[in-house]
């Protein structure tokens, strides 16, 4: 059995960088059981005897957020052999606030005093020896950037695990609180393991519901405890939770005063403050924000990203596709199998992979913005707007990523702490037109509105409008009603982004998109190809007589009120559920044109037969809102952690799609109908 080392610390303490350095390439990412909090694990570099578990970045061990509860449960039930607590040296008091709580769990704690280089640059000093003695924990000074101290950290950690050295010194609270704690300790001492007694005692004192349930107290004990706590709360005129928090910070102020010297006076400006004077300035903040967003979008989607698209199309169409076809034919493969592989799978996967460069560039910039500290400012600037329709400032980030791909966008909603806000964000993010919907719009705009650039852009406007209206409406429903979630957010100091971390982050997100192309899309493309080239008696036939066509005919009447009741379009709608970009491919296939791009003149002409301008717009609206692709539905299911909520999201999205398309078509025909 390998030993377990838990890595804990505040968000922005550099914990992730340290984890990357400690584990190298052995890390794997999953979810904590039952919840959507990311679980990262990896072996110590070159040492399979020690597993490092990266706990979520947290400020406290309160019972109120998912991340904190996950951490508590792991520390108490997972029984790690050691906690490495990453502490940001430039933000000592708040970071040590968590340390004191970690120590109370009875597990040995080793402190990695990180960002020592930044501290020194600021001219501040910490007497590490004094601090270490006060806390009763060994301290190693580290810098994840220059990798200083990391070897020492590993050596000390391994040594501590092997020696099973004892835990640190617990925080001492004020006399009245300690008195009450002693009384509680006597009542519950037999119910919990002796190492964790201090932790349980404090949690019971704080009325921690989750701990109370766990202890399963008898009525008599519960009553005795309540009497003790009520007495001190009345005496001190404050809640027990508040007393503990105050005393904890009091205790830390005493410790840091003795060992921490700050060069900068309170009220003077740091470099970070100076940047913020401009970036979050009352008048400049919004223009700067929009300029940054436009710049990212321009580079990722318009200019650089676009260059790669033609190249990938060439690789998959002319190079891979054509050569595999030749190869398969040369070894005597039957024509239908060649068709399945080349026109079905390779063409389908290729059409999705064309988006990868755009996606990667987008994720690169988003990771950059997150790493340097600008993302938190985005939430700060945008919160006011988003709160108005039931979301949080942090919802902006998923929505922005959603312009690329809904899958990573839905995953990005994890940074939203409040479950209600997170659910709503997951539900509404697919309304933002993703990269895969663009070819569909391009096709229809090319066929019907060749000279109106605003038609395609209007999709973004309609999408945003739908998010706003849905937010306002959903907030009124029972499931989303209630007070807005707290928005108490750290604005971390700006720092130079670490390229390695940014690239890892970019790759983690981009990987999801590529995985989707390799799995779901490959299977779906094969399935569609088979459905559209065989009849119910499994004979090879034209598309007209295929299984797909008969399915299309069956559901086509549903779409007649929306203006597109032909079976070809109905089929495209079904295949769009697998991946939006297959809508264009489906038109190509059912029209017998093979794999064609959205700008192909024959395709434009043929598609013209199925729509008029109004039904074309109605179809665009339907595509924009309808249940997202299979991969995004999968991501929704993962983030919602509930089948009920996933279905609610799908039904809601499809309902909005149907209603909006119906209104567009019917009202459009009333107004413009005669001219068409």
């Amino acid at each position: 059995m390998p030993h377990t080392i838990a890595l804990a610390g505040n968000p922005n303490s550099g914990k992730t960088s340290i984890f990357n350095e400690l584990t190298g390439s052995t890390q794997y990412v999953g979810n904590w059981p039952g919840v959507t909090v990311e679980k990262k694990e990896g072996y110590l570099k070159g040492d399979k005897r020690h597993v490092v578990v990266d706990l979520p970045g947290i400020y406290s061990l309160s019972p109120y957020t998912l991340e904190e509860v996950v951490t508590r449960d792991f520390l108490l039930d997972g029984k790690p052999d050691l906690i490495i607590n990453v502490v940001d040296a430039t933000n000592l008091e708040r970071n040590l606030y968590l340390t004191t709580q970690l120590v109370e769990t009875g597990i040995p704690v080793l402190i990695a005093l990180n960002m020592m280089d930044v501290l020194e640059r600021n001219g501040d000093t910490i007497q590490v020896q004094v601090l270490s003695e006060a806390l009763g924990c060994p301290i190693i000074e580290t810098s994840a950037v220059s990798r200083a101290g990391l070897k020492d950290l590993v050596k000390t950690a391994v040594h501590m695990v092997e020696k099973a050295e004892g835990s640190g010194k617990v925080a001492k609270f004020s006399t009245p609180v300690e008195k009450a704690l002693l009384q509680i300790e006597q009542l519950i001492a037999t119910m919990v393991p002796p190492d964790t007694l201090r932790w349980f005692t404090i949690k019971v004192f704080e009325h921690d519901e989750k701990v109370m349930q766990r202890l399963n107290l008898s009525d008599q004990t519960a009553h005795q405890l309540a009497t003790i706590i009520e007495a001190i709360e009345k005496n001190m005129d404050d809640s027990a939770e508040s007393l503990v928090t105050n005393d904890r910070y009091e205790y830390l102020t005493g410790i840091t005063a003795a060992c921490h010297k700050k060069a900068r006076k309170i009220g003077t400006l740091s470099v970070s403050d100076k940047i913020d004077r401009v970036v979050t300035n009352r008048w400049l903040a919004l223009p700067i924000f929009f300029a940054v967003m436009w710049g990212v979008y321009f580079i990722a989607i318009q200019s650089v990203g676009d260059l790669f698209i033609g190249w990938i199309e060439w690789v998959f169409g002319d190079l891979v596709g054509a050569n595999i076809a030749l190869g398969l034919e040369a070894i005597g493969t039957s024509a239908w199998l060649v068709g399945l592989v080349v026109d079905g799978i390779i063409a389908g996967v290729g059409s999705v992979l064309t988006f990868v460069p755009q996606m990667m560039i987008l994720f690169f910039f988003l990771a950059l913005m997150e790493d340097c500290g600008y993302m938190a400012r985005v939430a700060f600037i945008m919160d006011r707007i988003f709160r108005k329709f039931g979301l949080s400032g942090k919802s902006f980030i998923p929505m922005l990523i959603g312009t690329g791909c809904s899958v990573p966008a839905i995953m990005a909603s994890r940074t939203i702490e409040n479950q209600r806000d997170r659910r709503m964000t997951v539900m509404l993010t697919p309304f933002i037109p993703c990269g895969a919907k663009l070819p569909v719009f391009a096709l229809l705009v090319g066929a019907f509105f060749p000279n109106s650039a605003w038609i395609a852009s209007s999709m973004y406007l309609v999408g945003i409008l739908a998010v706003i209206v849905s937010g306002i409406v959903l907030k009124k429903t029972k499931a989303f009603a209630g007070d807005p979630a707290p928005f108490v957010m750290e604005l971390p100091s700006y720092h130079m982004p670490r390229m390695k971390g940014v690239l890892i982050h970019m790759w983690d997100r981009g990987k999801q998109f590529i995985k989707k192309a390799g799995t779901i899309i490959a299977v779906a493309s094969a399935a569609i190809w088979i459905l559209q080239s065989t009849s119910w008696s499994f004979q090879l036939v034209d598309t007209q007589g295929s299984i797909l066509a008969s399915l299309g005919r069956l559901i086509a009447p549903i779409f007649t009120p929306l203006g597109f009741g032909s079976w070809e379009v109905a089929v495209a709608t079904i295949t769009g559920l697998l991946a939006k970009e297959t809508i264009v491919a489906t038109f190509g296939i059912v029209l017998g044109l093979g794999n064609v791009a959205e700008g192909d003149p024959t395709l434009l002409a043929s598609v013209g037969a199925f729509f008029n301008p109004i039904s074309a717009y109605s179809f665009m609206i339907f595509t924009l809102f309808a249940a997202p692709c299979a991969a995004a539905i999968g991501a929704t299911r993962r983030e919602m952690q509930s089948a009920k909520w996933t279905w609610a999201a799908i039904l809601f999205q499809t309902g909005v799609a149907y209603t909006a398309a119906l209104v567009v078509y019917q009202v459009g025909m009333l107004i413009f109908g005669r001219g068409i």
Binding site: S62, Y64, N246, A285, D383, P486
Partner: protein, 73 residues
């Protein structure tokens, strides 16, 4: 006076953190506790939230949350 009413640039001392449950605990966990000094930095461009300096770092919170924090100049 509550923290929501303090002006940008003002330094105040926290007297009491009101409210309850998750929000109150979060505010206190972030270091806003009785007796600590807080500087109001600025108000976001659209009028909310506000940015403050507490225990040497920058924190943002909504005015509605700040109004639960009683302070004195």
């Amino acid at each position: 006076m509550n923290l929501g009413e303090a002006r940008p640039g003002e330094m105040v001392t926290v007297r009491k953190v009101g409210g309850e449950g998750a929000t109150m605990r979060r505010i206190m966990d972030m270091g806003i506790t009785k007796g600590c000094k807080v500087i109001v930095r600025k108000v976001a461009p659209l009028g909310d939230p506000i940015e403050i300096t507490v225990r040497g770092y920058e924190l943002s919170l909504r005015k509605s949350e700040a109004s639960n924090i009683l302070v004195e100049a």
